[in-house]
Symmetry: C2
Subunit: 141 residues, 2 copies
């Protein structure tokens, strides 16, 4: 059981943006975070676009452009991000199963997924970035 | 976010065995459940072996052999099955991440996974098979 790469990248990019904001720096470049996290540049662009469309990131055009958090990190929950970026939150595909009409598993898995998301709904991006020792790229500074 | 096919197959096969036991029939054939669930026969064999090694299924050799539940369905929790069959319960691979030392996400994801499994630990295979209208393959009966 794994988060999709899309969600994984989204969480890394948002956390990175939250840490930059916390450190007083504002704009991040897509190429920079792609390189820092070993994310293919195309994928990084797709993730930033998706997060930007949802208002979680704000993009600035131009040569010195880039992106930053679109809302305060305190208002962004990890649950919100996972719900946004996971393409599917059904743990199993029960559609064609011959046991479907008699099966209590579907409801059980749904309740477990609800418990999973409820836990993440209580956690904010600000808390995820808390306790961090900025600047985090000491070697590169 | 999906369960692996291995877990998916394991849950279907265990539920199938629980329903058969409930209906008074004892032994299931691997070929039969593979066909019924559209599971490649090789994969079905691997899953039955894994569940059998863990004591969740009992196999009987010979021409009229097959498998059945190795323990009462009331004593098998869905959490136990998922822990047994999921090869990895780390939702993200944080090993090489440059934010790792400052990141609170890892712990948050672990707690969410704990909440997910805690919910499934409360559900038994017997409950999953409860309310079922046996025989469930009326068309084939």
């Amino acid at each position: 059981m794994r988060l999709t790469a899309h969600t994984d990248y989204a969480l890394r990019i948002l956390l990175h943006a939250a840490l930059e904001a916390k450190g007083g720096r504002q704009l991040l470049g897509i190429g920079q975070v792609a390189d820092d996290h070993g994310i293919p540049r195309n994928n990084a662009m797709k993730v930033v676009n998706a997060l930007s469309n949802a208002g979680l990131l704000e993009t600035v055009r131009g040569r010195s452009g880039g992106f930053r958090l679109g809302r305060a990190a305190e208002t962004i929950t990890i649950g919100e991000v996972v719900r946004l970026t996971e393409p599917c939150l059904n743990l199993a595909d029960c559609a064609g199963c011959i046991l479907r009409t008699q099966c209590g598993l579907t409801g059980m898995l749904e309740r477990a997924m609800d418990a999973f998301l409820a836990e993440l709904d209580q956690q904010t991006l600000a808390e995820a970035a808390n306790g961090s020792r900025f600047p985090f790229r000491a070697a590169a500074a």
